[in-house]
């Protein structure tokens, strides 16, 4: 436990200073990054979206390698116009953008405009869209702005993105967007390491659990013996041991090396956005980190999600959302009280957090919630087929009663759930997932196939969110099985396959199954405009997300980029893109150049996504109209997964690929 927040003395000092209220009048002693006037990050003013009348934009972006103060230390970073994250690139829909990228590095670089529709030659992926920007050169992109929303930009060269080369993009809509915010801030989330990212990657390659200091220990074993009984616990341990995988494998890279930054600011320095009580504030949340998923919430302040990946959705009020790497969510908050609110961005593995504050006046703070318990992977994530499992003597009829008791009864048969305290929680089921998955692990459950259905109904009956409870929970809280895996094991570069593939879009993100407030799910996203291209897809492409954590190999269909050829999207056609996640962790899969419409049950109002976080053991389906000619990158946006080969080129062309590959 004590390893979870592996912090340097320097950071402890900062924390202590914050705790003792020494911040006011303490400017001189603060580290430079927190001092006024030394803004290498997006301070209050720089993170506020200026707005103004629609206009063509000409902007210069200077890419430099320089020593800066960051995350409580001093390091060599790649800055954009001397800051990291870089300045807001603010554009207007219907106008033109002329952006000039100047490379002052001694190596090749690039800027990818993430989520932006433009000619592919300007998309900024070296080796795919253009040759890269050589040292001393300037690269100019010039395009009409065809969209509105929150996006971002980052290097697509090597590991430069990890060392600071990211920044926000805000595009104002041409008409009235109906959001009517009084004030807008970008909230850019980053993970920062003082390690050389190449060394970091080498460590993962040599010892893939290097950064995981949350593995199950002897102490956990004793605890599980006590809670669940020896037999159940041993079965669980043997099941994981048999697979040679760890249920505590939540993040490859953790707070052991990362500091998590909000607008470039360490949590102890507390990035603060100011507001006047009663205002509508639009927060444009961008996960610009290399490897980290965040859970974002603002205790005491409901958030209304109004856009996902830049594109507007029908407003959904929620209390927390999980944001995958490279995703963006726009939320509107309306703080009425004259008080500060914490913007809490806890990492999915709970090894750290980024944090900032919305406050009526500078210097005000609100309590920072403690990190919650670390989540665990389940057999659901492994794509295990529960229906094959043997559960002797369970009376299924009990589970039909829409009462938590049914579960209690079930549990008692196996001695693993007696200590559950069902009625305490709001939904009645919130408390069960921990025990529940152990049950699932322990090869319980006779006629699970039939039962799952009944229990799912039951889940729906127990509360507004019951149907969306998720991954750590049992199968009845998990989405339905919609497909099974074929015989292809995807070779030595892949460990696991999703034997059964679930629709998990209605589930909460990993670790949020049990929180007792509202959590956004993908199934809630509903486009504000109906689907434009209503044609039936003429081509279906199924892609499996594959990997070998032990050897730190990552790929699609077990084949890494250097052994693959482009994926062909015939120009003008409607494509159905199916992604099956055979690995036990989520991957944020990003398609450049075109939006994907997520088939999430919203009829003709499927939401647009440029990056979809595909839950482990799940099967997700997206629709794409191939109307943007080009060679577009398609990849996992976890930086080190991409670099290891989880990458393809999607080619939108009117010629067959035969002559070109």
């Amino acid at each position: 436990m004590s390893d979870r927040t592996h912090d340097s003395d320097r950071r402890r000092l900062l924390r202590a200073m914050g705790a003792t209220g020494l911040l006011a009048g303490f400017n001189a002693l603060l580290p430079a990054y927190a001092r006024e006037g030394m803004t290498r990050h997006l301070n209050t003013a720089a993170a506020q979206v200026p707005g103004g009348g629609a206009r063509d934009v000409v902007m210069d972006v200077h890419v430099r390698r320089e020593m800066i103060d960051i995350a409580g230390g001093r390091a060599s970073a790649i800055t954009l116009n001397h800051t990291t994250p870089g300045p807001i690139v603010e554009l207007w829909e219907g106008q033109n953008a002329h952006l000039r990228v100047h490379n002052h590095l001694d190596e090749s670089t690039s800027i990818h405009w993430h989520g932006i529709l433009l000619p592919f030659q300007m998309d900024g992926v070296p080796g795919v869209a253009f040759p890269g920007i050589d040292p001393g050169e300037t690269f100019e992109v010039d395009f009409p702005v065809r969209q509105a929303g929150t996006y971002w930009y980052h290097s697509h060269s090597g590991l430069q993105e990890q060392v600071g080369q990211t920044g926000p993009i805000v595009i104002h809509s041409q008409g009235d967007d109906g959001i009517n915010a009084d004030r807008e801030y970008v909230i850019v989330l980053n993970d920062w390491t003082f390690e050389d990212p190449h060394r970091l990657l080498a460590k993962l390659k040599e010892m893939s659990d290097y950064y995981n200091f949350s593995e199950r220990t002897l102490g956990d074993l004793a605890e599980d013996f006590r809670q669940s009984g020896v037999a159940t616990t041993l079965k669980d341990r043997l099941a994981w041991g048999d697979m040679r995988m760890s249920p505590r494998d939540i993040a490859d890279v953790t707070g052991y090396t990362y500091s998590y930054l909000m607008n470039g600011v360490h949590p102890d320095a507390n990035w603060t956005g100011l507001f006047t009580p009663g205002e509508r504030i639009r927060l444009r949340v961008i996960n610009a980190s290399a490897m980290t998923y965040f859970n974002v919430r603002m205790p005491g302040l409901p958030m209304t999600v109004v856009a996902a990946d830049g594109k507007e959705v029908q407003p959904v009020e929620t209390d927390e959302f999980q944001i995958g790497v490279a995703e963006t969510f726009d939320v509107v908050v309306e703080p009425r009280a004259d008080q500060a609110y914490t913007i809490m961005a806890e990492t999915m593995d709970r090894s750290g957090y980024a944090r900032g504050t919305l406050a009526p006046r500078a210097g005000m703070v609100a309590p920072v919630p403690a990190l919650r318990e670390q989540p665990q992977r389940t057999m659901m994530d492994m794509g295990m087929d529960m229906s094959q499992m043997d559960m002797g003597g369970m009376d299924m009829s009990h589970s039909k009663s829409a009462k938590p008791m049914g579960h209690g009864q079930m549990a008692m048969d196996h001695g693993s759930m007696q200590k559950m305290n069902m009625p305490k929680k709001e939904s009645g089921m919130a408390g069960m997932s921990h025990q529940g998955h152990k049950m699932a692990d322990s090869k319980m459950s006779g006629k699970m196939a039939g039962m799952g259905h009944d229990m799912k109904k039951m889940a729906h009956g127990t509360g507004p969110n019951a149907g969306t409870m998720g991954t750590g929970a049992m199968m009845e809280q998990s989405g339905p099985v919609i497909a099974k895996h074929g015989p292809d094991m995807h070779g030595a570069g892949n460990i696991n396959i999703a034997n059964v593939q679930r629709d998990r879009l209605a589930e909460r993100g990993t670790g949020l199954e049990d929180v007792n407030h509202r959590v956004l799910t993908y199934s809630q996203l509903r486009n504000v405009v109906p689907m434009q291209d209503q044609r039936e897809p003429s081509k279906t492409i199924e892609i499996h997300l594959t990997g070998n954590m032990d050897r730190y190999m990552w790929s699609f269909d077990g084949v890494k980029y250097s052994n693959a050829t482009p994926i062909e999207f015939p120009y003008g056609e409607r494509i159905r893109l199916i992604m099956v996640n055979d690995t036990m962790m989520e991957h944020p899969i990003h398609l450049h150049g075109m939006f994907m419409e997520l088939e999430n049950g919203q009829g003709e109002h499927l939401p647009f996504k440029h990056t979809l976080s595909v839950l482990p053991g799940s099967r997700a389906s997206l629709l794409v109209t191939a109307d943007e000619p080009g060679r577009w990158a398609f990849h996992c946006h976890l930086l080190y997964h991409m670099e290891m080969g989880m990458f393809r080129v999607v080619r939108v062309s009117d010629q067959s690929g035969e002559n070109n590959a």
Partner: protein, 269 residues
């Protein structure tokens, strides 16, 4: 750079591609359809011009060097040292794998055993690699060379396994299996049981080996990972000889079993 390409992209060409496809004009901010396939030779992975750099680097050569055991053993009267290290260099599927181990008395003299292996390592499944190559023993005298066939990997239930079949230059066949397991007491305090077994297919009198089971070495080590890369440990090592090998040892007045308390270092880079 785009100075070169921008005008071309935005040149006002208009396409109509049947009734279902939207009309495309370059002024709409989309690329020209004809610009997708390069005129010259194309890279098979990207479809981009052949001479461009790679977008990602998934064929990197990595390397790893592990001193699994470097220890001092306290055995009655004959304190000794032992090393056991291995390393590799290569890609995901093909590696050069090197191993060395040996031991000797603390009080001078040459080591009792000194062994080097150089192997080609091929990834054959998610957790297993096949190995083939050469072993050369400097000690005990005289030097000996072996051909090696091995299987190394992670067995179910997290057993690190390293099994090798050796054929010496004289045609003697022997087998060695090494198995390790890690039990986490805390995230940094790790108990590691270890077992090694050596077998011979025939008598090799010159080296005091009988056919069948030659010897076993069991150990248990408790290490503390100050950093992942550096962990001191303490432990116990039990060695036992069997059968004819034991008879030979007895005849020569050597110990046939021993218990050593060990202190050592595990380190890697």
């Amino acid at each position: 750079m785009l100075k070169k390409s921008t005008p071309a992209i935005l040149s006002a060409t208009v396409f109509f591609l049947g009734s279902t496809a939207p009309a495309l004009a370059a002024s709409d901010g989309k690329a020209d359809l004809d610009s997708v396939i390069p005129a010259g030779p194309a890279d098979p992975n990207s479809g981009a011009p052949l001479n461009w750099k790679k977008p990602i680097h998934d064929q990197q050569i990595h390397k790893f060097f592990l001193i699994d055991r470097l220890e001092y053993g306290d055995v009655d009267g004959t304190n000794n040292y032992l090393w056991d290290a291995q390393g590799w260099i290569g890609g995901d599927y093909n590696k050069l794998w090197l191993k060395t181990e040996g031991e000797g008395p603390m009080r001078g003299g040459s080591p009792e055993s000194t062994e080097f292996q150089a192997l080609y390592n091929r990834t054959i499944s998610p957790f297993w690699s096949a190995q083939a190559g050469l072993r050369y023993d400097v000690n005990p005298n005289p030097d000996r060379g072996f051909a090696v066939l091995g299987l190394q990997g992670l067995a179910p239930y997290w057993f690190e396994s390293d099994t090798s079949l050796f054929v010496s230059e004289d045609g003697d066949v022997s087998f060695r299996g090494e198995f390790e397991y890690e039990l986490l007491i805390t995230q940094r305090l790790i108990l590691q049981p270890r077992a090694e077994i050596n077998m011979s297919a025939q008598d090799v009198p010159e080296y005091g080996l009988g056919s069948g089971l030659n010897n076993t070495e069991m150990g248990i080590r408790l290490r503390y990972e100050i950093k992942r890369e550096f962990a001191p440990y303490i432990g116990v090592r039990w060695e036992q000889t069997y059968g004819e090998t034991k008879d030979v040892a007895q005849a020569e007045g050597e110990e046939t079993s021993s218990t050593a308390f060990v202190v050592g270092i595990r380190a890697w880079y």
